[in-house]
Structures are given as C-alpha cells and as structure tokens.
C-alpha cells in the first residue's frame, strides 16, 4: 500500500475558498434521536419507494417501512422505534413533492432490523451479498443517491477493474466525509474490502483531496496492512474533483464516453460513507438509519459534524447546533455549489443530505441576469469541456437540435459556469432546462417510433 499523487490532470477546475475550517477539526457528535422523524420516500435516484406500513403501526429501529418500486429504487427503514403517526405529502430537500412516513419516537430504540448479519462475508459468494445491500437501503451517499446494489451489478460484458473510493469532498463547507475518514477509517476500509469481494477483486484507489492530510493519514493507518493492488491517491484540491467522471479521469486517465457509464471504462466510484454503510449492513446487520451531516455556515451558533437519524428535520439539526445567530437568508441542503436552497426548516433530511448550510441575509444578494457578453469564461471553467454559453443561448432560443448536438446531456450540473459568469446568467438552470427538454424530445420520438412500429 502506498500513497501517490493524482497521475492525471483535469482540463478545467475552479479553486474555490473552501470554508472548511469551521468544522474540519470538530469530532463527530451523536445527535439524540428527535421525538418525531419524517422518512421521505424519495431519498434516492429513481422511482419513490412505496410505504408498507400503515398509520398506527408499531415499528422497530431499522425495520423496513417502504419497499422499492420498479428497477431503480430502494428500501427505506425506520430510523427510530415507535409508532407510525401519519403518512403525508410534503416537499423533500430536492424541492420536489414526495410522500413522508412520520414516526413518533418512543425513545427505546427497540431493534427491528430484519437483516441477517454476515460477519463471514469473506467466505460467502460475492453475488449473494448484493441482495443484502439492497435490503439495507444503501444508496450513493455522496449526494446523487443512486442505489448501490444496482451500481455493483455491472451490465453483462463489463468488467470492473478499479474501485475508486471517493473521499474527495470538493464541495466547500462540507466536512462530513473528512470526519468520517478521520474517525471511522477502519469501518470504511472494511466496507471497501466487502465491495472488493463482491466485485471479484478489482484494484482499489482511495481518492482524497490533499487539503485533508489528517484524513489521508487516518486511511493510511487503517490500510497499512492491506493486501493486493491498493493505493491512496492524493488529489489536488479543486472543484469539482469529487464528481464521478472527473475522479475517474484524474485517477485513471480514462474518459467516460459521451452518454456512457463508469462501467464502460471499467471503473466504479463509491463514496466513503457508502462504504461505511456497506460494512454496517453486511457485518452488523444495520440498514441505513443515520448518516453524518455537516451543519455549518456563518449563521449557525455552534457548527458541528453530526451523526443524525434519517428523517430528522433541518429545524431539529439547527436546534441541536444552538440555533441561528441572526436572520436567516438562505438555507441550503448540501454544499453551496450543488446544494438546493430550502423554503423552510421543517424539511426532513434524507440519506443523501451531507450538509446543511445557513447563510445570513446580508450575504444573499438578489440579482438580475444580463445578456451573454461572449467572454468565454464558462468555456474555460467547464470541467466537461462543453460550451455552456452557446448551449444556454440555444436553450433560450429554443433550438433543441443545437442543444442536443452540443452534448448538453453530458453536463454534470456542477455549477462552475454559473459561478464564473460575469453577467450572472442562470447557466446551470438553463443547462438543466436544456437537458430536460432534450430528454423529453427523445422520449417522445421513441414513443412515436413505437406507435409507428405497431401500425406497420
């Protein structure tokens, strides 16, 4: 095992002020379970889960309360023990309406997990562990929330030769993954070993940005006696280093083809928190009922890294951190670059909520966007080497063919173009619009062709 510098350089990155000093040195705190939790049904990418409990049912900690619907979906579990208070509708942290299961905590944490622990995983068949990961409701905990059991079952013909463990955490303000690596490095390493076993022994690259030397040291210590082709890759601290495609390019020098998946270049990226969750599920038999959240920002009285139960409302998180010091201007779930601004604090956190950022009113400025001045800064900032200025103009002019031809679907919505735009144009929003419209047009075309095929 050795630590190497990132062998490949990314074409375009931004050097942001990371603002991590407020919480980087703070140890994880376990937040007592709140009196009421609300479990959202869409905490992952894909179809929302379907509740399998009814109002008034008694549930135990870790008991499955919602089942997956369709191919891409995930289980949801009770994060406290108690009674189902209600099943209702509300907004999730992504700003979309979703169903919630509200649980009243009885404070006993009565175990209700139905998972069978497999401490003997090393002698088990790798493939037989995948259903366990699905049943534990594990999704990509870095933020995207793609169900892990699907990710680790690559399509036929694709061989995963490298498992990249994502500890980059390039979003400013967030230190959740960093603290997890510093304090639970053994847990993460054990999880990585389980994933390696399932994937049939690929080489391991643990990628961490070089502004987190303590995290690198902790992982080095945990992996000191690792066998096989295992390396820690120290990445230059830059945004968006932790994005899947950028990480693969930086570590392996492989570029994912347009519209392709990491499996197309033989790579798989898993977040460090996901690896820890895999260990907890397989060895301890615990489904995902809690995660580390960084609660920070100039407005939080006592910024902290908290181990909180899934379904804790943002208001409870803020209260645990001593409340706000002034008038709130903006509450963001996730980091400032890709996070979603919230309309209130009564929204519950989900499996992908890695941070909560509170900004004061003075620091939030309203702006009007001006026309594009063709300065080219977005082109130089785009990590996917797209032409955001041309694409967004085409979106505004409704020229769908141009939008599609310029590979808008490859946009990772990292927000670099919006960040650098001197005209303050809503670049990411327009890119997102363009993506949605191209996808809609493709779907309609497919349906038309299907209908034609039926006729003919």
């Amino acid at each position: 095992m050795k630590t190497i510098k990132a062998p490949f350089k990314l074409p375009n990155t931004l050097h942001l002020h990371y603002h991590k000093e407020a919480t980087a040195a703070l140890a994880l705190e376990v937040m007592p379970a709140p009196a009421v939790v609300q479990i959202p049904m869409s905490q992952h990418l894909g179809a929302p889960s379907r509740p399998i409990v009814a109002r008034g049912d008694s549930v135990g900690l870790g008991q499955p309360i919602a089942e997956p619907v369709g191919a891409v979906s995930a289980w949801a579990h009770a994060s406290v023990s108690g009674v189902v208070k209600s099943i209702g509708e509300g907004l999730s942290t992504s700003g979309r309406p979703t169903t919630f299961i509200e649980l009243e905590n009885d404070g006993l944490d009565r175990p209700g997990s139905t998972l069978q622990p497999r401490p003997d995983w090393a002698s088990a068949d790798g493939k037989s562990l995948i259903p366990l990961i699905a049943a534990a409701g594990i999704v990509g905990m870095g933020g995207a929330g793609f169900p892990t059991h699907i990710k680790i079952s690559p399509p036929a013909g694709r061989i995963i030769d490298t498992l990249i463990v994502n500890g980059a955490e390039c979003e400013p303000f967030l230190t959740a993954d960093q603290r997890l690596m510093m304090e639970k490095a053994d847990l993460i390493w054990n999880g990585i070993q389980i994933l390696r076993h399932i994937l049939g022994g690929p080489r391991i690259r643990v990628a961490i940005e070089d502004d987190k030397p303590e995290a690198i040291r902790a992982m080095e210590k945990a992996m000191a006696r690792a066998d096989g082709d295992v390396e820690i890759v120290s990445l230059p601290a830059a945004y968006p280093m932790g994005a899947e495609k950028q990480l693969i390019l930086s570590v392996l020098g492989r570029e994912i083809p347009s519209g392709g998946l990491p499996a197309d270049v033989g790579a798989l990226v898993e977040n460090v928190a996901t690896c820890a969750a895999v260990y907890e599920a397989i060895v301890l038999g615990q489904p995902v009922t809690q995660r580390v959240v960084t609660v920070t920002g100039p407005l939080i009285r006592r910024p902290a890294n908290i181990l909180a139960r899934i379904g804790t409302t943002l208001a409870d998180l803020i209260a645990f951190c001593g409340g706000l010091t002034g008038q709130s201007g903006k509450l963001i779930c996730g980091g400032p670059m890709m996070g979603v601004a919230q309309i209130g604090a009564d929204v519950p956190m989900g499996k992908t909520t890695s941070g909560l950022l509170a900004l004061p009113r003075e620091s939030v400025r309203l702006f009007d966007s001006m026309p594009c001045i063709s300065c080219n800064r977005c082109v130089r900032a785009c990590p996917m080497s797209l032409l955001p200025c041309t694409i967004t103009s085409a979106v505004e002019a409704d020229q769908l063919e141009t939008v599609e031809a310029l590979h808008t679907l490859d946009c990772i919505e990292c927000g670099c173009c919006s960040y650098v735009c001197p005209s303050r144009r809503p670049m990411v929003q327009l890119m997102r619009q363009g993506k949605a419209r191209v996808q809609l047009a493709r779907r309609q075309k497919q349906e038309q062709e299907k209908a034609k095929g039926k006729q003919g």
Binding site: R96, V340, A341, I343, G344, L366, Q429, Q433
Partner: protein, 269 residues
C-alpha cells in the same frame, strides 16, 4: 437559301410536336387524380397551420376531410360558419361546432395568493415549478412566468402585473398550445358560450387552501348543493364545472371564497 430557313423550322417544329405528343400521352397514362375539393377546402381553412385540429397543417387537414372523412368541425380557429361552408361544399352534415376558448383555472395572482419565498431563478414556469413550487404557497396555482403566453401564436395571453396568466377569449383561436405548455395543467379549452367557471385547481383540504390563497376552492360544497348537483360536481376537495351542462350565473354569489366567476373574469383589484 430556302433550306437554311426551312430545315431548322421543320426540325424544331417536329421536335416540339413530338414532345407535346409525349406529354399528352404521359398526361393520359400517368395521371394522378387529385380531388379538386381538397384545394377548395384548404382555401376555406384559415391557413394558420396551428395544428390544433391534430393534423400537420391546414392542407393536411383538408386532405383528411375530403379523403378520410374527418369531421369538418375540428378546426378551432374556424368560425361555426366556416365549418358549415366546408360541410356544404362536401355535402355532409356539419355537426354543431362549438367555439372553444382557453381558460386559466386560477385566479390567485400575487394580490390574492401568497408567496412563500423569493424565487430568483430562471423566469420560466417549468424551472420555477421544479424548485419547491417556485415561491408560490399554492402548489397548484399559476406561477405567472408566462410559458403559455410565449407559445400563444396570436398573443391572446398576458401575465399582467399580478403574475397571473389571463386569456383574452376574443383573440383565442383555441389551438391548445398553451394547454400543453403549462407545467401545472391549469389551462383547459372550454366552450365559449359557457359563462360560469370555477377558477381553481387546488385539490388540498380547505384549511390548507385557505392558508395559500384568498380565492381558492375550500371544498365547502355550497355551489354543488345550490346547483343540486347539476353542471358541477366534487373531485376530491375541488368543485369542478361539467362543461356539457349549462350553469346558472347565480352560483357566483353562492361561493364564499369568490372562486366562481362569470366570464369575462373581472380584472384584479
């Protein structure tokens, strides 16, 4: 001398005659019959090519009427008389073609419906709707960023000062483009003759609706009782007009929330 004149005249003349003959033969054997009525029907259609009839344009629709027997009253921009003319030309019976107009089923502009936060994103309904409802407390109401107004080919929709889309029934050609453009499905085509409307699509319980908007349907059912179930009915927590039956204008006074309106809907205060 004579030859130099005569030969070319003869050659050109002969060639012209032969070509003419060829064309005459071709016209006879390769003739494609085109119903002359198609052209006449096309000239009777408005030529806006809006696609509201479901065909690829006016000419395509005319062909469908003549050849496939499509009903002559599908053209929305056509007046009833226009449909009658087409029907008379083809000798078929024109079914009563009712003039339809688009109607925005929301009356909660900024004055009456509350904003929950300041939306500073893309001024466009689909984007606003995706982010926590675009700042509108009512998650069913008109966002007012004017996607419908932008697709309207005749400029019949205005969003006005209160961020509420309003259709001018006089200008509307009922092409239905705005119906598809609205991400909240607030616009529907209703018979122009129908004057009483319920301008709300909020399907929440009354308590929730009242919190969001001053003119939302709170499902008190007074209108349904007053009309004794004729012409309107409840769909969950929302009273909905049944446009196949007439409705008495007296219902306007029955609604405690002032959700029921008589067209043209009055301007906002």
């Amino acid at each position: 001398m004579l030859n130099t004149l005569l030969v070319p005249v003869l050659v050109i003349g002969l060639a012209g005659f032969l070509c003419g003959l060829l064309l005459a033969i071709a016209a006879r054997f390769l003739h494609v019959f085109e119903d002359p009525r198609i052209e006449k029907v096309t000239s009777l259609l408005p030529g806006a090519n809006c696609g509201g009839c479901g065909y690829a344009g006016c000419a395509d629709y005319a062909r469908a009427i003549v050849e496939k027997g499509a009903p002559p009253n599908l053209c929305r921009p056509c007046s009833a008389a226009g449909a009658r003319d087409i029907a008379a030309l083809l000798g078929v019976e024109a079914k009563a073609a009712e003039k339809m107009v688009a109607l925005v089923l929301c009356n909660g502009g900024d004055v009456r419906s509350r904003r929950s936060f300041l939306y500073n994103g893309l001024a466009e309904c689909v984007s606003a709707d995706m982010l926590s409802g675009g700042g509108k407390t009512c998650r069913y109401g008109c966002l007012g960023y004017g996607n419908c107004a932008r697709v309207c080919p005749v400029g019949a929709i205005q969003t006005g000062a209160h961020n509420l889309a309003v259709v001018d029934p006089g200008r509307c050609i009922s092409c239905g483009l705005c119906v598809k453009a609205c991400p909240r499905n607030l616009i529907r085509l209703v018979p122009a003759s129908h004057s009483v409307h319920i301008l709300c699509r909020n399907r929440d319980r009354g308590v929730m609706t009242r919190k969001a908007c001053d003119v939302g349907c709170i499902a008190c059912q007074k209108c349904v009782k007053a009309a004794t179930g004729q012409g309107l009915h409840m769909e969950g927590n929302l009273a909905v007009v049944d446009y196949t039956l007439p409705l008495s204008p007296e219902l306007v006074g029955v609604c405690p929330q002032k959700t029921i309106h008589q067209r043209p809907a009055g301007p906002l205060p």
